[in-house]
Structure formats: structure tokens, C-alpha cells
């Protein structure tokens, strides 16, 4: 355990990478997922179908395989060869998570009464304006809890990056346990606590949003 306490800066830097992965992928997934959800409920049949196929393919693929694609298969055919590992990790995580964001958000869109969209159309808003001003703001309010779950899953999913040369929390933990076989339990517990703290931040953020939005309506 001395090894961990005397090298605590390594623990912190590992979690900082975990947070970076989660934060950047999280934001990118929210953007891409929102776009996909809008496509899935939109008036253009081609986009509707394309987004549907995307969600079905990506959601049904294990994350590990998505990582293998981004880190090995795609570079093998000549793309993403010079891309930094962090960015590749973000690409894999975003690709995967955005499908779940899309579906959570679509549930939210379905929960907004049809009359809201009709009223928006009746005053002359276009589909895009309707989405951004009327439907999505209400859909987001409805899906804060499931969206928080998706982001929490994302944060824990960053650990898959450990197998692909990114020294985030799980990779660092393995390094420590390899060198200190007797302290495994304590090392596991330390890193588990680290994850719990990061995830708790997301939960608190979600709770805050829920409370703020509950007041404003």
C-alpha cells in the first residue's frame, strides 16, 4: 500500500485521464446522440432509417469490439494511424455511447405530448426550430435520470481503454497490483472509491438539474 500512497500523484493523473475520456466522450455523445435522435423522429425517411441502423448496429456490438475496430482494424486499412490514443479512445467511446444517448432521448421525445409539437408547427416553426425550442428542451427534462445512467456507464466503460495503451485508472491499478500482490484488496478498494467519487459527481449534477428544472415549469 505504501507504493500507492507514495505514488499518489500517479493515481490522480490516471483518474484525470479517466475523467478526460469520460468528459470529452460524454459531451460528444450528447451532441451526436441528440442529432441521431432528431434524425430518428425527423421527416426525412432516409435519415430516419440511417439513424435506426446506426443505433441497432452499434448498440448490439460489445464495446471491446468497437475498441478493436478503432485501435486495430481501422488503422490496418490505413486510417486513424497517426491519431493520438486519447482521441481514438474518445472516438470508440463516443461511437458506442451516442447510440444509448439517442435511445434515452427518443424516449424523452416520445414523452412530450404531441400537442406541443403541433402547436409549434402551427405558429410556423420549422422542424429544426421545433426540436431545439420546444421538443428537445422538454425531452431533456424528462430523461435526466436515464441519461445520467448512460453517462455513468460511459465513465465505467472508459476502463476498457486500459487494454489499449491508455494509462487511465484501471490500467494504473493493474500496474500497482502487479508490483504489490499482497495489497491487492486495498488497491482495488482505493481505485473503486475513485470511480465512485467520479460517478457520484455525475449523479449530483443530474440531481441538481432535475431540481432546477422541476421548479421551472
Amino acid at each position: 500500500m505504501d507504493d500507492v500512497t507514495s505514488n499518489f500523484d500517479l493515481v490522480l493523473s490516471a483518474f484525470w485521464l479517466t475523467i478526460q475520456l469520460a468528459l470529452i466522450s460524454g459531451l460528444a455523445s450528447l451532441v451526436l446522440g441528440t442529432l441521431l435522435a432528431a434524425m430518428r423522429v425527423g421527416p426525412v425517411a432516409v435519415l430516419r432509417r440511417a439513424a435506426g441502423v446506426y443505433v441497432n448496429v452499434v448498440r448490439n456490438t460489445p464495446l471491446l469490439i468497437v475498441f478493436l475496430f478503432v485501435f486495430i482494424a481501422i488503422p490496418n486499412v490505413g486510417y486513424l494511424t497517426d491519431t493520438p490514443f486519447l482521441l481514438k479512445g474518445v472516438i470508440a467511446l463516443t461511437f458506442y455511447t451516442s447510440a444509448f444517448v439517442c435511445e434515452a432521448l427518443r424516449a424523452g421525445i416520445n414523452s412530450v405530448p404531441l400537442g406541443q409539437a403541433e402547436a409549434a408547427r402551427a405558429i410556423g416553426l420549422t422542424f429544426g426550430q421545433n426540436m431545439t425550442n420546444v421538443v428537445l428542451p422538454q425531452a431533456f427534462r424528462a430523461v435526466v435520470p436515464p441519461l445520467a445512467s448512460v453517462l455513468i456507464a460511459l465513465t465505467k466503460n472508459t476502463s476498457v481503454a486500459a487494454a489499449f495503451g491508455l494509462l487511465e485508472a484501471t490500467a494504473r491499478m493493474r500496474g500497482f497490483t502487479n508490483n504489490n500482490a499482497d495489497d491487492r484488496l486495498l488497491i482495488f478498494a482505493t481505485f473503486a472509491l475513485g470511480y465512485i467519487i467520479v460517478v457520484e459527481l455525475i449523479s449530483l449534477g443530474a440531481f441538481g438539474l432535475e431540481r432546477r428544472w422541476k421548479a421551472a415549469r
Binding site: P113, G115, E118, A119, A122, I123, G124, T126, Q138
Partner: protein, 264 residues
């Protein structure tokens, strides 16, 4: 001031009546919901400044007719024109047309996450590109007119049904529509709130607004309508002036309907 405006509107009406250019024209409009033929060869022409009340039993297609005029319901065949322009199929052109047609729904449909003021200014700001300060000013005038100005910062859920419906009317008026559609505007209201909404509608009618009103309020039809359209089983069974229609209905279907509703 109101009197002056009423005069000019009156003149407008006479001029338009003289040129005979109708504002809304439906020709041979048909629509099916599956096997159900909800609109059957509907021909209807509405003049500028005219108040047309559509009545009829449930399922007669009157709401569908009203919603077809701004294409919230698509039609299978026939044509609908507004101010000489056929309804566009989709996209920006349709949005532009809808901006010219005010709509008031049975269930109010105020934007739940926006304040009363924001509900009224959203259209002018986003669709017409009006500056926020100007949109706010105009919205407050409209809210004043419908008697809700003091509640402008509240959210829809904090208002009564009658108040919400009056806000919905103000929201539609903010777009300066050529015609207003009312789809059973008082059917979801308590009796005492019906009057406050009808008062606003009567005032609108007196000011010369072109209105299509689907309603069960026979009192409104009698006092404010120029014409009553009676629908049954997806077709227009009878049209007449309110006085003629209520005192002397020609079709058996209308006699039956009036007999049922006027009994109580």
C-alpha cells in the same frame, strides 16, 4: 381608436367582398383514416372577415376539417388554397404558410417549459425575426387584450384552463394571422371559464378576424357566426346563416342533432 380600426376593417371587408376573393378555399377534399372516410368531397369557401362555425356530432370530421386547413392533417385528394396559394407539401414553405394561420387547440398546448410571455414571443422571434424587445412589447399588448398581462412571468401550469386558452389565442394573434382556426376551444373548460374565452373570441370576430370555429357552443354560433356549417359522417350536410339554421334546419340529420342538444 378601436372604433376607427373597426371601421377600416369594415371597409376592408366590403372591398374584399366586392372583389369576391375568398381567403380559404377547399375543393373536393377527401381523407381516409384507414377504412373510415372522414372527409368526403368537402367544398368550402371562406371569405375575408367571415366567421364560420362548424358544428356536428362527434366523429363527423369537423376537427379533421379544421386541422386540414393548416395541414396538421394531410388530405388524400382535392385542394386547399389559402389566399390563392395551394398548401405546400412540406418544409419551409409549409412553415411559412402555417405562420399565416393561427390555431387554437382544445387542449391549449401552451409550451410547458416556457413562461406565458415566452409562449407568445417565440413565434415572432423565431419565425418573423422580430427583436426580443419589440416582441415582448407586442406580446404584453396582446396579453393585456386577453386579460392575462399580470401573469406574464408565470408558467402555463400555474394558470387556469380559461386563462391558458386566452394565452393560446394571444400566441396565435402574435403572428398576425390571416385566419384563425379554433378546434373546440372551450370543450376542455369548466362552464364558468367558457365565457371568458368566448368573450375574447366574440371580440375578435367583431374586429373582423376571419375565423373557422369548431365548437359545441351554440350561443357563440348564434351571436358571432356569419355562417354555420353542419357536418355529419364526414360530409357537409347543411350550411346556412345561424338564424336560418337554428330556427329552420332543412336536413333530417340537422333536425335530429339540434333536437338532441337543445333539449337540455
Amino acid at each position: 381608436m378601436a372604433r376607427v380600426r373597426r371601421m377600416t376593417v369594415q371597409q376592408d371587408r366590403e372591398i374584399n367582398a366586392a372583389t369576391g376573393q375568398p381567403l380559404v378555399v377547399l375543393e373536393k377534399v377527401n381523407k381516409h383514416f384507414g377504412a373510415l372516410h372522414v372527409l368526403q368531397d368537402i367544398d368550402l369557401s371562406i371569405k375575408r372577415g367571415e366567421v364560420v362555425v362548424v358544428i356536428g356530432p362527434s366523429g363527423s370530421g369537423k376537427s379533421t376539417l379544421c386541422r386540414a386547413i393548416n395541414r396538421l392533417e394531410t388530405i388524400d385528394d382535392g385542394s386547399i388554397t389559402l389566399d390563392g396559394q395551394p398548401l405546400p407539401a412540406e418544409g419551409k414553405a409549409l412553415a411559412n404558410l402555417r405562420a399565416e394561420v393561427g390555431m387554437v387547440f382544445q387542449s391549449f398546448n401552451l409550451f410547458a417549459h416556457k413562461t406565458i410571455l415566452e409562449n407568445v414571443t417565440l413565434g415572432p422571434i423565431k419565425v418573423r425575426g422580430v427583436k426580443k424587445a419589440d416582441a415582448d412589447k407586442r406580446a404584453m399588448e396582446l396579453l393585456e387584450r386577453v386579460g392575462i398581462a399580470h401573469q406574464a412571468q408565470k408558467y402555463p401550469a400555474q394558470l387556469s384552463g380559461g386563462q391558458q386558452q386566452r394565452v393560446a389565442i394571444a400566441r396565435a394573434l402574435a403572428m398576425d394571422p390571416k385566419v384563425m382556426l379554433f378546434d373546440e376551444p372551450t370543450s376542455a373548460l369548466d362552464p364558468e371559464m367558457i365565457k371568458e374565452v368566448l368573450d375574447v373570441m366574440v371580440e375578435l370576430a367583431e374586429q373582423g378576424m376571419t375565423m373557422v370555429v369548431v365548437t359545441h357552443e351554440m350561443g357563440f354560433a348564434r351571436t358571432a357566426a356569419h355562417r354555420v356549417v353542419f357536418m355529419a359522417d364526414g360530409a357537409i350536410a347543411e350550411e346556412n346563416t345561424p338564424h336560418e339554421f337554428f330556427t329552420n334546419p332543412r336536413t333530417a340529420r340537422a333536425q335530429d342533432f339540434l333536437g338532441k342538444i337543445l333539449k337540455h
